[in-house]
């Protein structure tokens, strides 16, 4: 048997491996019906030690759409973890209940502990403020599919760039691709941390920091919005003063390229006005859809079930990528 593979961090896979994963995801999108029984008889365990309904349902949807079944728990407080069972013990048992496991845990590194003891592939479904690789893979697939490439574009990241794990992971993952310009749009208080800037400098990757959306809007090919949370500010006045700068509305969208598209990890609160939802450039709901495709492709990849199917897909649709 091949060595068991897990997904702990978005850069666990090489760029080539990711390309293959995204090819599978694209093939799934185009030929969904062909995949409906791919995982017949397989079980996905969702071990969520803290609730994250959207992430959990996305994993479950992915497995169900592959014909598999799901079991698990949605909140650590009701599970054996609450009785003091270690992650290592839980995963050893889960290894007999399921064929693959998605784990979310408030403690950083918990899925890696599970992976070390597991007999089945483990997917990190978010470990505290550390990693959330399937979100990053979702973002990469969305860009690749909607923009057409993971190279040669200008991406604006807007909102809370200081605490946003999603943004940091995406930037890190994108540094493996070519000719990408970064524009960081945030209030002073929520600027991107220095380690990110140092990483970009070390790789000679250009970036720009600004405080308003308007001044850079016309340059952007992709705009990645994030939530600006009230708790992040020292006082109410600062929050009230600043929050509107980072709300995307149709007025600001007039400045954007016709082909620009807007991403957001969801759930949103008010940082994207509802009026934009029907704009063809709004990509955040499709992003959730891609999140299911990429998790389907990931499940197949980790269960080592992709190649046979990919070949069929490629034979059926020569040149159609």
């Amino acid at each position: 048997m091949e060595r068991l593979r897990h997904l702990m961090s978005p850069t666990d896979f090489t760029v080539e491996e990711l390309d293959h994963l995204f090819d599978v995801a694209e093939d799934i999108r185009k030929n969904m019906a062909d995949y409906a029984h791919k995982c017949d008889g397989k079980i996905l365990a969702t071990c969520f030690y803290e609730p994250s309904t959207r992430t959990r349902l996305s994993f479950e949807s992915a497995m169900l759409r592959l014909g598999g079944k799901v079991l698990g728990f949605a909140d650590g407080s009701n599970s054996s973890a609450a009785k003091g069972e270690s992650v290592s013990d839980t995963i050893r048992v889960m290894s007999y209940y399921a064929d693959i496991c998605a784990m979310r845990h408030p403690k950083e590194g918990a899925p890696m502990v599970a992976a070390e003891k597991s007999l089945i592939p483990v997917i990190n479904g978010g470990d505290g403020g550390h990693q959330h690789p399937t979100q990053t893979l979702t973002d990469l697939l969305t860009i690749r599919s909607l923009y057409g490439s993971l190279n040669n574009f200008t991406i604006g990241l807007c909102g809370d760039l200081k605490f946003g794990r999603t943004v940091h992971s995406l930037i890190t993952a994108l540094t493996r691709y070519e000719n990408i310009n970064y524009v960081f749009i945030s209030p002073e208080e929520l600027k991107v941390p220095s380690y990110i800037k140092e990483m970009l400098k070390a790789k000679n990757i250009p970036y720009k920091q600004v405080t308003t959306l308007e001044e850079v809007m016309p340059d952007l090919d992709i705009l990645y919005m994030t939530r600006v949370q009230k708790e992040r500010f020292f006082n109410e006045e600062d929050y009230v003063r600043l929050k509107d700068f980072y709300i995307l509305d149709s007025q600001k969208m007039k400045l954007a390229k016709e082909k620009m598209f807007i991403m957001h990890p969801l759930p949103r609160v008010n940082e994207i006005a509802v009026e934009i939802d029907d704009d063809p450039r709004a990509a955040y709901f499709r992003q959730s859809e891609y999140g299911v495709f990429v998790r389907m492709a990931l499940i197949l990849t980790l269960l080592d079930m992709t190649d046979e199917h990919m070949n069929q897909g490629l034979l059926r649709h020569p040149g159609d990528m």
């Binding site: 270690s86 290592s88 403690k107 950083e108 590194g109 918990a110 890696m112 550390h130």
Partner: protein, 143 residues
């Protein structure tokens, strides 16, 4: 200087910062060793004023001495054979350190998981930077 007898075959860890000898003894796992070990405290040193010395009578290759490079750069390792120093061993930073230092990140799984070893990985050789294997938090030596 107090002489604790020459060793015929083994190694001597010299230039240990005074007072750190016992810690090195434990970190190297010498307490679990079935050989003769001498710990010399506060020996005179022209260079350091005072120093600690460890004399160990066992095969130098039976122990992972690289951890010493992490614990204290100034320690020197003299390999002894037939009562003579035959080698001054150069040490390289270990790629991995297990259960010597602890992760202090309260959000790390090592803070709650029973029986989990504390493992640090050398992530930047130049900067001598170690990170927790699980949460990737940098290890900062306490001053």
């Amino acid at each position: 200087m107090l002489n604790v007898g020459k060793i015929e075959e083994g190694f001597v860890l010299d230039h240990i910062k005074a007072g750190k000898g016992m810690q090195i003894y434990r970190d190297l796992g010498l307490d679990k060793l079935d050989s003769t070990v001498a710990i010399i405290k506060n020996a005179h040193s022209d260079k350091m004023g005072k120093k600690d010395i460890l004399k160990v009578e066992c095969d130098v290759n039976a122990l992972d001495l690289d951890i010493i490079a992490f614990l204290d750069h100034s320690i020197t390792v003299n390999v002894i054979k037939d009562g003579e120093i035959i080698e001054k061993r150069a040490l390289t930073l270990p790629k991995m350190i297990k259960n010597v230092i602890h992760c202090h990140n309260p959000r790390c799984i090592t803070s709650i998981e029973q029986g989990l070893p504390h493992i640090f990985i050398l992530t930047d050789e130049e900067k001598e930077l170690y990170r927790c294997k699980y949460c990737e938090e940098k290890y900062k030596a306490k001053a």
